[in-house]
């Protein structure tokens, strides 16, 4: 059976799901008024956001649950570190790091799926 938008049950569930995310966004807007921009509290909040985004990034690379899941672990991890290393060792050039990472990842995929 198809789940359609015009079903009352779907609308209620969507609204409840929306609330589950929206409450955090609302609190973020409210609390942002109470923290000084350059304070240590602001830096700590930024740090947590940096930490969480890094955790998401590592989760996608090390423990993926999307199409990346089909790619062998080392074929994801090695290009990831190639990209970071090229970025760090070649005057922090973002494009060069991305190019190195993506091209090595593509080479792994093409080699495994189409050449052997």
């Amino acid at each position: 059976m198809n789940i359609t938008l015009f079903d009352q049950n779907t609308l209620v569930l969507l609204f409840v799901a929306f609330l589950g995310v929206f409450i955090w966004r609302y609190l973020g807007v409210i609390y942002s008024k109470k923290i000084e921009n350059e304070s240590i509290a602001a830096k700590t909040v930024n740090s947590i956001a940096y930490g969480m985004t890094t955790a998401i990034v590592c989760k996608i690379i090390f423990f993926p649950d999307n199409a990346l899941n089909l790619i062998p672990t080392m074929d994801r991890i090695i290009p990831f570190f190639i990209g970071i290393s090229v970025f760090l060792f070649f005057s922090r050039n973002t494009n060069l790091g991305l190019l190195a990472g993506i091209s090595s990842f593509s080479i792994f995929i093409i080699f495994r799926n189409y050449l052997i």
Partner: protein
């Protein structure tokens, strides 16, 4: 201000948007396979704008979950949104401007890890006063690109090679980590390294909770170095 907005649009429709749109292909396919109407898939993207929440929503609605289960799982899985919005709004100095509450709430809805990273690292060195306009451009670009990605995934995913789709999906984590490593302040570099270590250690034990825990725990070494070892 208009330049900052246009610059944001370019970013949103550029590589970050392309990569995020590619990630949305997988969600479109999941929605199709779970018998969700296309409009429900689009509405869930627009109303939730958080990949974990969207995946939970599709999974739970197709298995006939109750209201309480739907709310609790999505609420608990999205604590990170609080820190992203808080950090993004502090970086954009939103409260030093005369912006209405409804305007803030509306744009807070479009904060995502990609949008947050572009704002927090500010790779184009946009003036802090123009970052809010810049973010609006980024958000619009990302939403439109995700709409296209979702549509592709919903209607033609079966005809695409999943291995080839993984190439643009791989772009997002690499792009985000490289942007974050551009951070000049030691506190953030220490946080990034600690968080990666915590996640790798914790994920096999506590699954997705490791994202929240790694984020919070990794801020501690950075905080200590900032407070006690600042040179």
């Amino acid at each position: 201000m208009k330049i900052a907005f246009k610059n944001g649009l370019k970013k949103g429709f550029g590589l970050p948007g392309f990569a995020m749109g590619s990630a949305m292909i997988g969600f479109g396919a999941l929605a199709f396979e779970s018998n969700l109407d296309f409009l429900v898939a689009i509405a869930s993207m627009l109303f939730l704008w958080s990949m974990p929440a969207m995946i939970l929503f599709v999974t739970l609605i197709s298995s006939g979950a109750s209201l309480i289960l739907m709310f609790t799982s999505i609420f608990l899985a999205n604590v990170r949104t609080l820190f992203m919005v808080l950090s993004a709004f502090l970086n954009m100095k939103v409260n030093s401007k005369n912006i209405s509450f409804y305007d803030k709430i509306f744009w807070a809805q479009w904060v995502s890890p990609t949008g947050w990273t572009l704002i927090a690292t500010n790779p184009d060195k946009i003036s802090k006063n123009d970052l809010y306009s810049n973010f609006k451009g980024i958000a619009i670009g990302l939403v439109v690109m995700c709409f296209f990605g979702l549509s592709i995934g919903y209607f033609i995913f079966g005809n695409l090679s999943k291995e080839l789709i993984s190439i643009p999906i791989f772009f997002i984590p690499l792009y985000l980590i490289i942007l974050m490593l551009n951070a000049k302040e030691r506190i953030y570099i220490i946080t990034i390294i600690s968080s990666a270590v915590f996640l790798i250690l914790l994920y096999p034990i506590i699954d997705n909770w490791s994202i929240l825990l790694s984020g919070i725990l990794s801020a501690i070494p950075g905080y200590i170095s900032e407070k006690y070892f600042k040179s």
